[in-house]
């Protein structure tokens, strides 16, 4: 009996010692990998890169509806706000009327962009210590850098003076805010570095559509240089545009209307699109970052429409009548890009129920079409497969034409580039001037989120964007509307290290 006691005493004493050890409490996770153990292969670095692409698809719905083209267009003159009434989406209405406040604005754009910056920085930071093929590594890092530049470009255009960092923040997560010129300088230098290292392909291989290419980087470069009116870089930007043209990897699609169909996605004209997929789409109201389609087509969809072509939508982003009227009747971009409902109704007998700011004109380019969400799994509304077109080859041509004129280059070449775009639209040739190139951009890119920035950079905004048009807009655009107010929550959480913009 004593023996048993002794054994028990020893056993329990041993147990007590064993159970006290710190090691025993360090439990390895069975469901997760620690960050410190993760980034160790090419595949895993690539997964980090995919995560950096991920925020691209959140803009259309991230608890706010902020499709980038729509948010800038409603501040310009072609696209109205719409929706059920002026309190449907107050943040959009305030952008529309230039009455944004630090607390009330489409501030999720800010959050999404910085998520992208953070994720791109992770790829850049983790890459050096990973043993992998150096060419592949350089490619991934280059993509991450361009993505970061793209996200900063959005922040820079909307807010101008922003916190900027190239290495992710640590406690207490505070970062210096720099001026818009300084942001430009940093981003453009990064872009130049990537472009000149020439590790990106000019065009994505089949299956890689959606990834950053040399052409995309160069388009981004030109966009920023032109928005900054940085004449020191015009010739470099022009060279980049001519590189794209000379590469012959891209060309205009012959049928303008066809670009906007599912079959037109990634056509030869397409330089970069944000990819949305409807098949297996699991985006949902509580899961805006899940992979799938876009809600934007339904958001701008025709309210209460009958018939078998279009889906009953929410009536945002009506097209202004004057935008439809500015085209000549034979311009294929008019009815290829805009739906004139009266014409459509005359042909089909279909009807719709007008909502706020309805004009009878709809942005055909992205309208929700029947079956556009084929194969969706989660929300039917949130999973339209329409890719968001960011850069098209026609913009390359118009950029090149404008930059030629701005650098006193060949006006013949400029006119040729311009007319290549006009001829595709089935309209007559013109001689290129800065003004008619800007007007051509107006015609070419209705609803594509280019117009507002063109008006701002060319100084036309103060004369074009005036009070009373649309009716509820009581303020005219002024230079201090160029940068939105810094979101109030960011100022609150940054212990007053952020200076507010004078909006």
């Amino acid at each position: 009996m004593k023996k048993i006691f002794n054994i028990l005493v020893i056993a329990t004493a041993a147990l007590m010692l064993a159970s006290c050890s710190d090691k025993w409490l360090e439990v390895e996770s069975k469901t997760n990998i620690l960050e410190a153990d993760y980034y160790n292969s090419a595949d895993r670095l690539f997964s980090g890169l995919v995560a950096a692409y991920d925020p691209l698809k959140w803009y259309d719905y991230f608890y706010q509806y902020n499709s980038l083209n729509m948010v800038s267009d409603i501040m310009a003159d072609d696209i109205l706000c719409g929706g059920s009434n002026d309190s449907d989406q107050p943040t959009l209405v305030k952008a529309h009327y230039y009455t944004l406040t630090p607390a009330d604005q489409p501030n999720q754009i800010w959050t999404i962009c910085y998520s992208g910056v953070n994720r791109a920085n992770i790829v850049i930071a983790k890459a050096p210590s990973i043993e992998m093929d150096e060419t592949t590594k350089a490619l991934y890092v280059a993509e991450a850098k361009v993505l970061k530049c793209w996200y900063y470009n959005i922040l820079w255009k909307y807010w101008g003076n922003i916190p900027y960092y190239d290495e992710n923040l640590t406690f207490p997560y505070s970062c210096e805010q720099i001026g818009h010129d300084e942001v430009y300088a940093k981003v453009i230098a990064t872009l130049e570095g990537v472009i000149d290292s020439d590790v990106l392909p000019m065009k994505a291989a089949i299956g890689d559509e959606g990834r950053v290419t040399q052409a995309m980087a160069k388009m981004l470069y030109a966009e920023m240089v032109m928005y900054q009116n940085d004449d020191t870089r015009y010739s470099k930007a022009l060279g980049y545009m001519q590189d794209i043209i000379k590469s012959t990897k891209y060309s205009l699609a012959s049928d303008f209307a066809g670009i906007w169909l599912e079959s037109g996605e990634w056509c030869d004209e397409s330089i970069w699109e944000i990819n949305y997929i409807s098949e297996g789409g699991i985006r949902d109201w509580g899961a805006p970052i899940a992979t799938g389609g876009s809600v934007y087509p339904v958001l701008i969809g025709i309210p209460g429409v009958t018939g078998n072509d279009f889906v009953d939508g929410w009536g945002f982003s009506p097209v202004a009548k004057k935008a439809y009227d500015m085209y000549s009747a034979n311009d294929t971009r008019r009815d290829g890009g805009i739906l004139n409902f009266a014409d459509y109704a005359a042909k089909t007998g279909n009807t719709y129920v007008p909502r706020w700011e309805s004009t009878g004109y709809f942005l055909l380019k992205y309208l929700a079409r029947k079956g556009g969400n084929h194969g969706y799994v989660a929300s039917d509304n949130l999973n339209y497969g329409n890719n968001q077109r960011i850069y098209r080859y026609s913009e390359t041509l118009l950029n090149a034409a404008e930059l030629l004129l701005r650098t006193n280059g060949s006006s013949t070449d400029a006119t040729n580039y311009l007319n290549e775009v006009r001829e595709r639209a089935k309209v007559s040739d013109e001689t290129a001037t800065i003004d008619n190139i800007i007007e051509e951009r107006h015609l070419e890119f209705v609803g594509e989120g280019k117009r507002y920035w063109d008006l701002v950079r060319t100084g036309k905004a103060t004369t074009v964007l005036v009070a009373g048009d649309p009716a509820g807009r009581t303020a005219s655009w002024t230079e201090n509307k160029k940068y939105w107010p810094i979101p109030q929550s960011e100022i609150d959480k940054s212990a007053t290290t952020l200076t507010q913009n004078n909006y």
Partner: protein
């Protein structure tokens, strides 16, 4: 019958010994099984069936007579060889010993705040779940039934809402910490429940005790022959209340009024032609739903073995959908508690005794449930929303089924249920059609066992070691046929899904206890212990579409034809992260002559939830007590004070349930993007957010001052406690800017305060054969969220179509009801136009007569979001219970009243976003012209520029109630009758539950809790039932 333990040989001492015999009696009856021991030795004997004993003792020995339930008597042997003893009943016996965690303590020397519930109390509450047992019977505990659904758990809060995170208490059953629900426990198996309320009593459970600890002790056998008992109960349940909604005529009138108020034409030409219409509640409720329980117990003990074996079966049909098999619960429980004296040697004072025991419990439960407390199409919510003009069945079943073959039909008469207008009802369907769908079936199997050994190392020093396991399996199976409820609610394929879960916990604990008395007056007990616990689990499940045939019996994953390539099939599952706890603890208790008491506890907990920076948490506590009634000067000055004790305690407890790996960064997958044309998903991964490596436990610090009084030989007792409990380091996302680019880390940033007063009173009265007892308790609680810890000091929680309902905010109770205050209804244009600020601008420019006047709380000159304010809260200020019991000549009775006060309920069972749905009757009181109503606005179908029905005090009602929770009358048949058929006792009884409720609340039931922050939000709660039952207790 003399029981000399282990038959020890006493020959060596025979020459100095003498034999003492005698009879032990109590009242005039012989006392069987009383112990007679020679004081200071292990020599002892017990009395036989006639109360006689015989013992050989040393000359000049002192004998000690003891028996459970009687006061111990000590008698010196002297010269006499016969000693007859009359034992005195110990009235305070049941309360005498309190379980305190790793030990027991005499109630008279307890210095902490602990509520003790005996098995008698538990029996009187007639509960089927241990959490409901606590309702109304003890102070300091707020129990809110989440719903009347069978098997539904209750929300239990000990001394308030301790944290904005999980505030559930820790349950310890026979020393084993139980995770994942304790409905495996059969209340009939419970000997006692102790609620450790203050920090000093909880401190021995350290990092898990911040929200209080509930200690459950299960029964064991009593000395003597095997006792066999059988208990049976059968009850019928009905909803105790119906919600008053419009009948068909009232409905048609109201809809017409609403349309006319919008300038539209009336819809119903002759409202009075519709009569009463369909009574949807009548149709949905399962009237006279049965409830049944059987219980068999065999128990007994001798000097070597103590056993308690029980088996129980309980089943309950729900009052909503129970007849469709949609809301039912059944439970089988088996238990075996056994203790063995393996070894005993009274000859020496070291290694002289070794006991072992094992408690094994198994339970199997089956349940099905309906969606409850939801305004989005739970059957009950739908029944309230259905128009009384809507018929239950389709007018023409055949043509409806021809058009919609998957429309639901009545399982009894085959008639098709009516299809509702999807445009009107959105996600609401015919509730009977919903109920006719197959139920999701939940099941669980749980084995909890605890194996222990205890031996005396030397006198006064004991070592106990225990090893416990808790193995749980649970899962659900469900299938859904293709169905058609309405144009908005249908599915054209069938599907099946199954999930299984498994969790395994083991726990090893070792304690060393020293107990001794010095100078005859200083009682000292010291305990040192160690505990280690580990928990692991896994889950696996899947679903698939397209059943081969819609056959309820065969429905399952095997029986489906969906393919993976088409995306029909899905599988999920994996292992859970292990959770481990390693702890050391020590406790010292001392008292001087039971006058001055002191107890100090310290526990060090290491948890796998803590990061390397804070791996161990230390929780100290101390408590003091003074039994002033034992002081001679008090005895002289106030002899009528039978007992009196002043208590003071202070301590810290922790909450280690802060999630796993919060201190480090792990990788999150699912950050995907599609490349290619058409896009193919590429898998993306990133860190899951910023980490806070300094993350640690939440900590609560509590001070308690208590006073206990006993009068009339302790027949009348009072107890009073005041406490203050501050929780610090509550977890909350830290306020970091979004520009950091990832989700904020969690930090220990919040503070919560709970203060309260608790009172208990008991009175026992013996008037000859009439015995009466009376008990009352009351709890007052004041909860304040001191600091939420985020940058704006508030966070909104529950919401509804009418807006945010609840908010947590610094300086307010957590959470509170948040919305606009109203100030009557604008009776005419003058009133609208005179509601202006100082410069004459209208405060409500969009209002018209009949609209609600909202209060401009912030005096901004307009009604904005900023005018929302405090409108009430779901946690009562006062919780109280009153019980009356007694017995007289075999007749016994017990009444338990229970109630709350100082509490509000948000009644949001009405949807404001749907037109043509039915309305509560209070809507008949809407404004219809000047002077008609100064509370409810005009009823309007359509646009409402004034937003009359936004979240405001119009939705908030008084949630106080007073309820006759239980009533029982029993009669025990005279023994002389039952003995003839070998039955030692037979009791028959009738009982009722929720027989009477006094409340001003208009909804189904004022008791509502469906989650941490949704206490008091009624979205169509499943009401508790009124139950009438009969039963019998049979003992052999």
């Amino acid at each position: 019958m003399t029981l000399l333990l282990l038959g020890l040989s006493c020959v060596a001492f025979a020459q100095n010994r003498q034999t003492v015999t005698g009879k032990v009696t109590a009242g005039n009856e012989p006392l069987v099984g009383a112990f007679v021991t020679e004081k200071g030795t292990s020599n002892g004997a017990s009395t036989d069936i006639d109360g006689n004993y015989s013992i050989k003792v040393a000359k000049g020995a002192v004998l000690e007579f003891s028996c459970i339930g009687y006061k111990v008597q000590t008698i010196a042997v002297g010269e006499s060889a016969v000693i007859n003893v009359k034992m005195e009943e110990d009235v305070s016996f049941l309360d005498e010993v309190v379980v305190i965690g790793y030990g027991v303590q005499k109630k008279s020397v307890v210095t902490a705040s602990i509520s003790h519930l005996s098995s008698e109390t538990i029996k009187n509450t007639a509960s089927t779940r241990i959490d409901n047992v606590l309702k109304g019977v003890t102070s300091g505990v707020t129990v809110t039934s989440s719903s009347g659904q069978p098997g539904a758990s209750s929300q239990v809060r000990i001394r308030g809402v301790g944290t904005i995170n999980n505030s559930d208490p820790l349950y310890i059953v026979d020393g084993m910490a139980i995770d994942g629900g304790i409905d495996y426990l059969n209340p009939n198996d419970i000997l006692s429940v102790e609620v450790l309320k203050d920090a000093a009593s909880g401190a021995v459970y350290g990092a898990r005790a911040a929200n209080g600890v509930i200690l459950v002790t299960t029964k064991s056998g009593e000395k003597g022959n095997a006792r066999v008992s059988y208990d049976f109960q059968y009850g019928v349940q009905n909803p105790w209340k119906r919600y008053d909604v419009l009948n068909a005529t009232e409905y048609a009138l109201m809809i017409n009024e609403g349309l006319l108020n919008q300038g539209q034409a009336a819809r119903y030409a002759d409202p009075y032609s519709y009569g009463e219409g369909t009574d949807w509640q009548q149709a949905v409720f399962n009237w006279n739903a049965p409830e049944i329980s059987h219980q068999i117990t065999v128990s007994g003990a001798n000097d070597r073995v103590n056993y308690f074996i029980s088996g129980g079966y309980f089943s309950q049909e729900g009052t909503v959908g129970g007849n469709f098999g949609r809301s039912n619960y059944s439970r089988i429980t088996l238990r075996s508690n056994t203790t063995y004296r393996i070894y005993e040697n009274k000859e020496r004072n070291f290694l002289n005794k070794f006991d072992m025991g094992i408690n094994i419990a198994y339970s199997h439960t089956n349940s099905s449930s309906i969606t409850t407390n939801s305004e989005f199409g739970g059957p009950l919510g739908s029944a309230l929303a259905m128009s009384p003009l809507q018929s239950i069945y389709a007018d023409d079943s055949e043509s409806l089924l021809a058009e919609h073959p998957t429309a639901r039909t009545d399982p009894w008469n085959g008639k098709a249920y009516s299809i509702v207008d999807g445009g009107v009802y959105n996600e609401i369907a015919n509730p009977l059609a919903q109920l006719s769908m197959p139920a999701d079936q939940w099941w669980s199997d749980k084995f909890v066992s605890n194996f222990w050994g205890e031996f005396n190392i030397i006198d006064h020093l004991k070592f106990k070691s225990s090893f416990g396991t808790d193995m749980s399996f649970w899962g659900d199976t469900s299938w859904t046929p293709a169905y058609y409820y309405s144009s908005k609610l249908y599915r054209d394929y069938s599907s099946a899904s199954m999930g299984q879960y498994r969790a395994f916990t083991w726990q090893i604990e070792n304690t060393l206890t020293y107990q001794n008395t010095y100078f005859d007056k200083l009682n000292l007990e010291a305990m040192l212990g160690q505990s280690a616990k580990s928990n692991e689990g896994l889950s696996v499940g899947g679903s698939n579409k397209y059943l081969i045939e819609e056959d309820a019996y065969k429905a399952g994953l095997w029986f489906t034809t969906g393919t993976q390539s088409a995306g029909d099939m899905s599988v999920w599952g994996g292992t859970y992260n292990p959770h481990r706890l390693s702890s050391l603890f020590a406790r010292v208790s001392a008292n001087w002559d039971e006058r001055y008491m002191l107890q100090a506890t310290v526990r060090r907990d290491g948890s796998s939830n803590f990061g390397p920076a804070n791996l161990y948490a230390i929780f100290p506590s101390a408590s003091f007590g003074w039994n002033f009634a034992n002081e001679s000067f008090v005895k002289e000055a106030a002899p009528w004070i039978a007992s009196g004790k002043l208590r003071f305690s202070w301590g810290k407890n922790g909450n280690e349930a802060i999630g796993q790996y919060g201190y480090t960064t792990t990788i999150a997958t699912g950050n995907n993007y599609a490349f290619g044309n058409p896009g193919v998903i590429a898998t993306g991964a990133k860190p899951n957010g910023f980490a806070n490596e300094n993350l640690k436990w939440e900590e609560s610090t509590q001070t308690d001052i208590g006073l206990d009084f006993g009068f009339l030989n302790n027949a009348l007792t009072f107890s009073f406690d005041w406490y203050k409990k501050i929780t610090t380091g509550m977890l909350m996302s830290m306020p970091i800017p979004a520009y950091a680019g990832d989700s904020a880390p969690t930090g220990n940033v919040g503070t919560m305060s709970n203060k309260g007063v608790e009172m208990e009173m008991n009175y026992k009265l013996n008037l000859g054969d009439l015995k009466l007892d009376f008990g009352a308790n009351a709890t007052y609680l004041k909860n304040v969220l001191v600091e939420l810890g985020n940058e704006n000091g508030w966070a909104n929680y529950d919401s509804h179509k009418i807006g945010t309902l609840t908010r947590g905010q610094n300086g307010y109770p957590f959470p509170y009801f948040y919305g606009w205050k109203t100030d009557g209804v604008f009776q005419n244009w003058d009133e609208v136009n005179s509601y202006a600020n100082s410069d004459g601008t209208l405060i409500q420019p969009k209002a018209q007569p009949g609209d609600v006047r909202f209060v401009d709380v912030d005096n901004s000159g307009s009604i904005t979001d900023a005018d929302r304010t405090y409108l009430g809260k779901g946690m009562p200020d006062w919780t109280y219970g009153i019980s009356f019991g007694g017995n007289f000549h075999g007749l016994d009775w017990n009444l338990l009243f229970q109630g709350v006060a100082g509490v509000q309920v948000i009644n949001v069972t009405r949807r404001t976003d749907l037109y043509y749905i039915n309305l509560p009757s209070y809507m008949l009181g809407c404004w219809e012209g000047e002077g008609t109503s100064n509370r409810l606005p005009h009823f309007s179908m359509g646009s409402d520029d004034n937003e009359n029905w936004r979240m405001s005090d119009l939705w908030v009602e008084d949630g106080a109630y007073f309820r006759l929770k239980n009533a029982q009358i029993g009669y025990t048949l005279p023994e002389k009758w039952t003995k003839k058929v070998l039955i030692s006792s037979l009791r028959l009884y009738v009982a009722g539950e929720n027989l009477f409720t006094a409340t001003k609340y208009s909804g189904f039931d004022p008791e509502i809790s469906s989650g941490g922050t949704s206490l008091g939000i009624d979205r169509g709660v499943y009401p508790q039932s009124r139950v009438y039952s009969i039963g019998l207790n049979l003992k052999f």
